[in-house]
């Protein structure tokens, strides 16, 4: 470069890179169409639920998503019914306790199976995994007989006990703890922490994404649980939301608009939980190598 010649700033226009149009194939259009169809299929029931919650009964079987005469009377009715709050609280208590229990115990067992070498370790792990192959429906009768013999029918404990620890959660956490280098654990051991302190102080913070993912799975599973709470409870004051909503059905008539309103309200906590933690769900599922 000649002496005294200065470097001129490049104009902004030159820096704007014009991207060539992305070539689109028919295959791509077909994929989009399939994905769009799948999306519509999944969203439609929710949209219908929301729409129905703003409709009068006479309009209920009209599939229009926009009500001709929108009303909030259904919400007023459901929210003024004291039982709804009781069911909401029941669901919340059960979902929160089972979530905390799973986060603690699944991770404790997963950590033990992952980081300790002891005789029978693989046997225990395979035994836990094998329970994943048994459909829930097959377990209901043993669960019921256990509840009955222990006097847990019609109690929070009876509703919660089958879900306080899960094989899925244990497996998920074990897989995640595999990603925690043993050096961290050994360094803490040399630094004088006991095994429980190491699990809590060192290992647990390193698997936060997995804990969040597990918490969401368990919370959603228990919030929406239907069959087991229905079987184990007779006392209406112990009903969870999904069971409570069915009481809007009477012998001659099902009050769908009220069921839809209750369901719409019941969706709110799960939506909040999901929106806050969704990135953890995706990370959790990807890292565990599982399909959602």
């Amino acid at each position: 470069m000649a002496a005294g010649q200065s470097i001129k700033p490049v104009s902004d226009a030159l820096l704007e890179v014009k991207r060539p149009p992305v070539p689109r194939s028919y295959g791509q259009y077909i994929r989009w169409l399939l994905l769009f169809s799948g999306g519509v299929l999944m969203v439609m029931p929710i949209a219908y639920m929301l729409s129905a919650s703003f409709k009068y009964p006479f309009e209920l079987y009209n599939l229009n998503l926009i009500p001709e005469e929108p009303t909030i009377e259904n919400y007023t009715y459901v929210l003024e019914d004291g039982r709804f709050y009781q069911w909401f609280i029941n669901s919340m208590v059960i979902a929160v306790i089972t979530t905390i229990s799973n986060v603690l115990f699944d991770s404790l067992v997963g950590y033990t199976l992952c980081k300790f070498r002891f005789p029978g370790r693989m046997f225990v792990f395979i035994a836990i995994l094998s329970t994943l192959m048994i459909p829930t429906e097959m377990l209901i009768i043993p669960w019921y007989l256990m509840s009955k013999s222990f006097g847990w029918l019609d109690s929070y404990w009876g509703i919660m006990f089958p879900g306080l620890m899960t094989a899925f959660g244990t497996f998920l956490m074990k897989q995640f703890f595999e990603t925690v280098p043993d050096d961290f654990i050994e360094a803490a051991r040399i630094d004088g922490l006991n095994e429980l302190q190491i699990w809590w102080t060192v290992a647990m913070p390193l698997v936060k994404p997995a804990l969040a993912a597990l918490a969401i799975f368990v919370f959603l599973g228990n919030w929406t649980a239907f069959i087991w709470p229905l079987i184990v409870t007779n006392d209406q004051s112990l009903y969870t939301l999904p069971i409570g909503l069915t009481t809007f059905s009477v012998e001659q008539q099902v009050e769908w608009e009220l069921i839809m309103t209750g369901a719409a309200l019941a969706t709110i906590p799960t939506l909040i939980v999901f929106l806050i933690f969704q990135r953890y769900i995706i990370r959790g599922v990807v890292m565990a190598g599982l399909k959602g």
């Binding site: 280098p181 050096d183 360094a187 051991r189 040399i190 630094d191």
Partner: protein, 352 residues
């Protein structure tokens, strides 16, 4: 500070024996380096000293205590790991202070101790950072700081420089050596890099297949290797080994005039292996031993490595960096008799 003694240490993993009776005494305040190829048992020995693994038999003594049945935390040791093992969710301050969690000290004393260690390691301005905001060398310094903060009797280092690039490794090597000179604690350092071992250690322990091959100062293991393995493992490029024969105080090599060897342990005529380091084999020189053709040159700046074929065997010699020979040249190579090492052809042991 404390001495460390390993007495007839044996370790089996299932049916595989990985340590075959290790005996070693490390003096109080000594910097000792365990070196050897992968699978030689150096890391296993270190883990047994730390208490992270138990020995199948034998004793570990730290100071006057037999610590076989003590937990790692009860042994008054600190360990620096190859992967640093600094906790990503904690700041540098919390990482360094982590070892003091269980110490019976006031919070103010703990803070003062962390600040002191950070000052020694020149990390004061990094105390509030998280590990992902640090370079590799800084992370390693945090790991060292976490070990230092407890002022343990013995520091254990498990290949702590392996993950660093060459330049940083040289720098950290020097820092660790300076640190040892300053704090004076006993250090047991494991590495597979013989240059690290030579530059840092007061004494080097060379291991192979679960057995100690030689214990000595860097000068001893370089100039008086106990066997063929040590001779080849220490020094880069490795020692040239040639087949020869000893008879009546003379060593005979193919195509070379016999030279005198004052070994006293040989009584009869026998085949030997003759070792000579490239550092001691110079191109030209006053007492030429061999002549051969130059195959390859490796210029290193101050000197040039010259690969020469002598009677079908390739040997490495060193030549001046400024005026090396050319490929294809026929050159003479010289070495003095005192730099020639004799080894038993069968056992590989040094013949003295």
């Amino acid at each position: 500070m404390a001495s460390v003694a390993l007495q007839n240490l044996v370790k089996f993993y299932g049916k595989t024996q990985v340590l075959h009776g290790i005996d070693l005494t490390v003096a109080d305040g000594e910097f000792i380096v365990l070196v050897g190829p992968s699978g030689c048992g150096k890391s296993t020995s270190l883990r047994i000293i730390s208490g992270l693994e138990g020995a199948t038999s034998g004793d570990v003594m730290i100071g006057e205590r037999v610590v076989n049945n003590l937990e790692p935390k009860e042994r008054d040791i600190a360990m620096v790991f190859q992967n640093y093992a600094i906790y990503p969710h904690m700041s540098v301050r919390r990482n360094i202070g982590f070892g003091l969690r269980t110490a019976k000290m006031s919070k103010a004393d703990k803070t003062a101790r962390v600040d002191e260690v950070a000052r020694i390691l020149s990390m004061t301005e990094l105390l509030d950072r998280k590990p992902d905001q640090l370079s590799g060398g800084q992370r390693q310094r945090v790991a060292i700081g976490r070990a230092m903060v407890r002022d343990p009797a013995v520091f254990l280092f498990d290949e702590p420089l392996s993950n660093l690039d060459a330049q940083l490794r040289t720098q950290m090597r020097l820092e660790i050596k300076k640190l040892h000179q300053r704090v004076g604690n006993t250090i047991i350092f494991v590495t597979h890099d013989q240059v690290e071992a030579m530059t840092m250690a007061d004494r080097i322990v060379i291991m192979k297949e679960g057995r100690i091959q030689q214990v000595g100062t860097p000068q001893e293991v370089f100039h008086l290797p106990a066997n063929l393995f040590v001779a080849r493992f220490i020094g880069a490029p490795e020692m040239n080994i040639l087949k020869g024969h000893w008879r009546d105080g003379l060593v005979f090599l193919d195509g070379v005039a016999p030279f005198k060897s004052d070994v006293s342990s040989l009584l009869k005529s026998q085949p030997v292996l003759v070792g000579v380091r490239p550092d001691h084999l110079t191109v030209g020189g006053e007492s030429p031993l061999f002549a051969g053709t130059v195959n390859v040159l490796e210029p290193l700046g101050s000197e040039t490595l010259v690969y020469v074929t002598v009677n079908g065997t390739e040997v490495i010699a060193k030549a001046s960096g400024r005026a090396p020979p050319a490929v294809g040249d026929v050159v003479s190579l010289s070495a003095s008799a005192e730099d020639m090492h004799l080894f038993d052809e069968t056992s590989g042991q040094r013949i003295t």
